[in-house]
Structures are given as structure tokens and as C-alpha cells.
Symmetry: C2
Subunit: 298 residues, 2 copies
């Protein structure tokens, strides 16, 4: 089954302890699509400016990603600039220029509307709601961020009632619930709507809550994280791609989906920009999934 | 095979979001012994003052712990007072009165010297070295803390060369190596001596490094952590107790030992003081170990 992603397409400039990457291909919808394309058909819905390099479009197209919903409008593409500390869990946003993304209103082509699986990338909850209303999905997952928890709390609460799955990081779980116990806090978010929650913990892995059940996935042990930008969206892409491929949302399938998401995200972090995703194939992912299995076996 | 632990025996006063516990039985050697006694014969070596309640001695003895090495001297028992925040990962030490522990010099009775497995609880590395020199162990694990990394760095470095296994938390790994990548940092500590390292990550579980191999153990998902005091020592007790019981230090056995340590520590955290350890039996531990297996299965 196919999956649709709606979200940002960006040009990212980052420096990390491993070096820097200037105006690399980035954005939630980009990372998601490149990850999910390993599993199934992907429809990307987003917006770019007239300055967007053609080579990036060619790259996405070469991966079989359907770009019918990638609107190109007058103006500049969304740009983000960030600095990562020696502790890569800490990053400073140096510049954010929303540019054409500021007035983005998603318009889903028919094929994107009809995809059974939908991922709403991080955006204002109002934009995510516009996406939901156009879609004929049977399963929808959503990402959010600290900013929306802060300034669009009510709209976020509204959309939480309408989704199947929330993909969120541990700090956001605590921020949203004001509860420091991650297990209890995630349970509280389940009561707000989504019965399935992936609580991402960065270098500590991910917890999957599926109704009453919990699955704990490890992180892949990496001696060097080159660039974590897009790790969350790559995780979401591997996760949703696998679910869409299997066309199943049982606990067993979702556990495997979390491992696939983690495997794909670990590849992403090993290089700058999307290179860690574009230079791997299905065998690389499968080998990494096996490493995850070995890592927790006792 | 039997195990010897050398370390503090204390009276702990704590307040946590769940309530408070005044002058409860505490100390590294106490928690370790109560955990390890589920698996094998335990020799406790430590010191208490004349004020130490007889009921605590009776409790330890009732668990079959050999107290020949528990010296009682004129003066007061070691006391510690702490406050835990809503985020239980953060605690403030309000008072530390070393009392009779200040001039503690471990004297291992013959049976403690001859135990094949030895655990040096958190203490000044010079005290730990005195312990090592008296022991005829074939496998020794050691705990330490931020204070010794800071003020006794050289002595700590010396003893690291002489041990088989270091049990340490993630913040201490970073402090000791000045490297924020936990995997790379732990590898650096392996180069300093111990080929086996348990890097504890609190609510995120534990990583076991065994030569080139890595095992990732999850934390038990707890909706309420009542009192984490002694969790690390209980982990060490379950870990070393299991190893001593199996009389084997292969990677496979150590992986199971980490899970047993985690299982015991999760029981400990569910009640104040040592109650979580004293009120469980082998079946409770085995049931928890099975829950850990379910938690990571995919």
C-alpha cells in the first residue's frame, strides 16, 4: 500500500563535531520520503521555491517518489541553519527562514488523497488538520514539536483526537503532559487520542506504546554520529514505510516497523544530509535490522 | 560460588514525589547483599556504629548474608539525606555524615577473602585497592562515582587496570573520558583496563560491553518510581549474584546477568528503602526477567 507524507522540504546548513554541510537537501518530507521509498510507493506533498536545485528533484524522482504534490512557487525555499554541540543531543538553531513554507497550504493530488497511510510531518496543527481533511487514509501518524505544544496547544489537542499514531520525542512528551515519568506521561497522551505512540529517546532508542502493550527498541550503538538532522523523520519514514508495505497495524508488525525506522535512522546519522539514506539499499537495511536483533538477544 | 561485597552500610533519609523515608536501611553493601542473596552465598564487609538498629542486622542475617565482616565500632553509623525532584533522575544530597565510615579500613575474614567473586562498592579507590589486595577472587567488579573521578583520578586509573568489570553510569563515563559519545567513551574506558563494562542509563536501561561485543538491555517501564536510592547497587547485586551462581563470565551469561540486575533493581525502586528487595522471592525475579524478554521481542 502507498503512503503520503505532507511536510517541509528545505535546504539545511549544519555544523557538527564531524564537519559542516552547507545548503544540503533537508526537510521532514524529504527525509521521510527517502526512508519510506525503500518499502513502498510514496507521495510527497510540500512546497519549494524557484531557487530549489534541480539535482535534488532529480534525486527524489530517481528514488521513485511521486512529486505530483510538490508545489514550486515564486520565492525562496525554506532554509534552516543549526549548530550541534559535542553532545549531539544539544543543538542550537542559528537561523530559520520559512520563506515559501510560511504560507504553505497543502493540496493533495488524488493519488496522495487516496493513499491508505498518511504521515503529517511537523508543521502547525492547523496545517496538519487541513491535510487530514483532504485525505482518505485508513491510518495516520503525526509528528509535532515543542513550539506547537507551546503556542498552538488547543489546536494540537484537537488533532490528537483524530490520529492513530503520534511520533514524538521524550522531551515533548514531558512538555505536553507536565509529567516527568515517561511511561505515565505517554499513557496520558494515549488518553488524549492516539492509541499508538512512538516515544523517541534519541541515543537511548524508542518506546512503542500500542494500547496497553509496550515494546522497547534499543538505539544502534554508533561510535560517531556525523549529523542527526532528519533522524526523526527518517525514523518515521522507515516506520510508516514498513507498515504500509505490510498493510498491517498489529502490535507485532509495529514492533518490526520501529526497528526498521531505527535502522534507517541510524544509517541517516552516519553521513551528512540525506546521504546516509540515498546511498543504502534494502540489503543494508535488512543487515542493520539483524544487528538490532542481536543487540537485544539474551 | 560465593560473592563478597565491600562497601557502605548506612541509614538513609530520603524524600521523593511518593513520600519520605526516615533513617531507612541503606548503603551500597546492604543493597548489593540483599539483591545477591537471591542467587548465592554473600559475604558483607562493612562498618556500622553502635547506634545501628538490631532489627537491620536481623534482617540481613535472615536472608542468609554472612555478616562476619560487618564490623561494629564506637560511634555513629554513616547517614545520608537526599531529596529527589519530580524528575527522579535529579537528586540533591542534603546531608552526608560519614561517621564511622570515614576511617573504614576493610578487613576481609577468610571466607570473604576466598570468595571467587568480589564487588568493590563505591568508596575511595584507596579503600577499594586495600580490598583487592586482601582478596583471592577470580573475578572482580567495581563501582565508583563522580567525586572519585574528580578528586582521586590517578588512584582510580590505577585500580581500573586491576579489575575485570566496571559498573558505572552514563554521566560518569562522560566525566571520566571527556567524550560525549557514550559508545566511544565506554570503549576508551575498556582501553584503561576493564574488558567488561556495564554502562547504566537509569530509566533508559543499560549497555553491556564485553570485549568487542555490545548488549543493550531495556529499563523496566515503571509508572511510578517510589525511591531509586540503591538501584545501582541492587543492579550490581543481581548482576554479580547471577554470575557467581552460574560461575561463568561468558558474554551469554553476562547478558542474562544484566537482565537479572535490572529486574532486581526495578523491584527495589517500587518501594522505599530496601523493602522492594526484602519482600520479593526468586519467582518474582524470574517473572520480571520474563517481562524483560517480552519487552524487547520483535
Amino acid at each position: 500500500m502507498s503512503v503520503t507524507v505532507v511536510g517541509s522540504v528545505a535546504l539545511d546548513t549544519v555544523d557538527t563535531p564531524s564537519g559542516e554541510n552547507i545548503e544540503g537537501l533537508g526537510g521532514a518530507a524529504t527525509f521521510f520520503s527517502l526512508a519510506a521509498a525503500n518499502y513502498t510507493d510514496v507521495n510527497l506533498v510540500g512546497v519549494i521555491g524557484t531557487d530549489f536545485p534541480k539535482e535534488h528533484i532529480d534525486l527524489l524522482a530517481s528514488k521513485g517518489i511521486n512529486l505530483e504534490g510538490l508545489e514550486q512557487v515564486e520565492g525562496k525555499t525554506f532554509r534552516w541553519k543549526g549548530h550541534y554541540h559535542d553532545d549531539l543531543n544539544v543543538r542550537d538553531t542559528l537561523e530559520t527562514h520559512l520563506n515559501v513554507f510560511e504560507h504553505f497550504e497543502p493540496k493533495l493530488p488524488q493519488v496522495a488523497q487516496d493513499a491508505p497511510y498518511l504521515f503529517c510531518g511537523n508543521a502547525h496543527p492547523a496545517i496538519q488538520m487541513m491535510t487530514l481533511e483532504q485525505s482518505n487514509h485508513k491510518f495516520v501518524a503525526l509528528d509535532t514539536m515543542n513550539l506547537w505544544i507551546d503556542i498552538a496547544h488547543d489546536e494540537l489537542t484537537d488533532i490528537l483526537k483524530k490520529i492513530d499514531c503520534l511520533i514524538i520525542n521524550d522531551e515533548e512528551v514531558i512538555q505536553l503532559t507536565q509529567d516527568h515519568n515517561l511511561i505515565r506521561a505517554t499513557r496520558k497522551i494515549q488518553e488524549m487520542g492516539p492509541k499508538i505512540i512512538c516515544t523517541k529517546k534519541g541515543e537511548h532508542g524508542c518506546l512503542l506504546f500500542h494500547g496497553d502493550q509496550i515494546f522497547s527498541a534499543p538505539a544502534y550503538p554508533m561510535m560517531e554520529v556525523v549529523d542527526p538532522t532528519g533522524a526523526g523523520d527518517s525514523f518515521a519514514g522507515g516506520f510508516m514505510g514498513y507498515i504500509a508495505q505490510q498493510d498491517d497495524t498489529s502490535f507485532n508488525t509495529l514492533k518490526k516497523a520501529v526497528i526498521h525506522g531505527s535502522a534507517v535512522a541510524s544509517h541517516l546519522c552516519s553521513q551528512f544530509g540525506p546521504d546516509g539514506l540515498t546511498k543504502i539499499n534494502k540489503d543494508d537495511i535488512e543487515a542493520r535490522v539483524q544487528e538490532f536483533a542481536e543487540l537485544v538477544k539474551f
